[in-house]
């Protein structure tokens, strides 16, 4: 097997790539002691530091939990009590609209006051409280009154940004066709093949030549929306939008509504009175098929949510390993693993957008399918 035509350059490249392994950030005095000494010290230290390591694990869990949740402020970084980021508006429906900035919560530490009402934030949920900020807890959860939260959270802000981005991008793309006489220009050259792919490989084969046009706008929107949000989630901004079950629930509900309201009589016929099977079987099949109508969008919701959520948790845990191992070997291993997982996540971001679009198209196709296989039964 020939690895490279220029073995010398290849070897140099490998050596340079391996350079970080030689660097270490440990306390130098530890490295100069002999092997036996270090192990003995390590044994003693492990008993003392077990408290410390469990504390670190708790902290890592907290950071991951904080990351995957939607936030009421846009925090990019938190280091030794310093918060880097910006506050977002809080909008609550509680005896009229309460509108204030999330900086009033002082990163969850303080009680916010608005028009004589007091609120505290606990695990990114807002509770109504008194001036002292007391929370009555039962079974580990606060039972204080929760006002209806319509805040512009981190996720909502990201959705708005992506929506604006998509609008500008595709409006510009549409305009460039008119300007250039039917030839795309600029960024359109990147997106045109994707749009064509969705039409020719997803919409037409699954929905059919006759009906695909009215679903194209939805399929394109859902594909680019999910894809952009997934990619945004991989940036260091620390956003997790499609890994939020409320968002995927919303997307799945749209697919469900479109499927249900554009379905023809053959679709309902196949659910309630399956043609071509004996009558007792029809009665058994009807509830199963009816259940299937709801399971399909439910599976869509869970699939997207779980994939992105799990991806974020795995990536964050691998980065967290650096703080558990605290050695150059563990850290470089963790770095390489998280790098590899990041590359897989870029693939997953595209794949999940594709699967969501594909399955939506499949459901729409089953909803508008003509009854052409009468003889087959």
């Amino acid at each position: 097997m020939v690895i490279s035509n220029k073995p010398l350059q290849f070897i140099i490249a490998i050596l340079i790539a391996c350079l970080p392994i030689l660097g270490f950030a440990n306390n130098p005095s530890e490295n100069t002691t002999s092997q036996t000494e270090t192990t003995a010290v390590a044994h003693e230290a492990s008993a003392e530091s077990s408290d410390e390591s469990s504390e670190i694990k708790e902290q890592i869990k907290e950071v991951i939990g904080h990351h995957v949740l939607d936030g009421h402020e846009f925090s990019l970084l938190e280091y030794e009590g310093e918060h880097i980021g910006f506050p977002l508006p809080i909008i609550l429906w509680d005896n009229g609209v309460q509108f204030f900035s999330s900086s009033k919560f002082e990163h969850g530490e303080a009680v916010a006051e608005s028009n004589g009402n007091y609120y505290v934030i606990h695990h990114e949920k807002i509770y109504k409280t008194d001036a002292a900020g007391t929370l009555t807890e039962a079974h580990g959860h606060p039972i204080n009154f929760q006002p209806i939260d319509l805040s512009i959270t981190k996720g909502v802000l990201t959705i708005m940004v992506v929506a604006l981005l998509m609008f500008l991008l595709f409006a510009g793309l549409a305009k460039s066709y008119a300007k250039n006489g039917g030839i795309s220009s600029g960024v359109g050259r990147l997106f045109e093949p994707i749009v064509i792919y969705i039409r020719d490989e997803i919409a037409i084969p699954n929905i059919g030549e006759k009906h695909y046009k009215k679903y194209m706008s939805y399929l394109l929107t859902i594909f680019f929306f999910v894809w952009f949000l997934n990619i945004f989630g991989l940036t260091p901004l620390g956003i997790n939008v499609t890994g939020n079950i409320a968002i995927t629930f919303g997307l799945a509900v749209i697919t469900f509504v479109i499927t249900t309201f554009t379905a023809n009589k053959n679709y309902w016929g196949h659910i309630f009175w399956m043609p071509g099977v004996p009558t007792p079987m029809k009665i058994i099949l009807a509830p199963i098929e009816l259940l299937g109508v709801f399971i399909k969008p439910f599976a869509l919701m869970i699939r997207l949510y779980a994939n992105i959520f799990a991806g974020h948790v795995v990536l964050m845990s691998l980065i967290g390993l650096i703080f558990i191992f605290k050695s150059w070997l563990g850290s470089s291993l963790s770095f390489m693993l998280s790098f590899a997982i990041s590359i897989i996540e870029i693939l997953v971001a595209l794949l999940q957008a594709y699967i969501f679009t594909m399955l939506s198209a499949l459901y729409f196709g089953s909803a508008v399918e003509e009854h052409h296989h009468e003889e087959a039964h």
């Binding site: 869970i302 699939r303 799990a310 594709y354 699967i355 594909m358 399955l359």
Partner: protein
């Protein structure tokens, strides 16, 4: 209570892994036999893999 849950989730993940592995392997075979049908085979493969994946995630959420 914690251990049976974790073991069960592990079993489900093993099952899902075997399932997706078999789908991938069969798709490879099919593509090797009929390279001209690669696109169609890949689409069917991805759909089947996504469906199995859903079950795997459902198990992980039970933990």
């Amino acid at each position: 209570m914690e251990i049976p849950k974790i073991v069960g989730a592990g079993l489900v993940v093993i099952g899902a892994g075997i399932g997706i592995g078999r789908i991938g392997g069969s798709a490879m075979d099919a593509i090797a036999r009929q390279p001209e049908a690669t696109g169609k085979i890949q689409t069917a493969m991805l759909i089947a893999a996504a469906l199995i994946e859903g079950i795997g995630f459902a198990a992980l959420f039970a933990v």
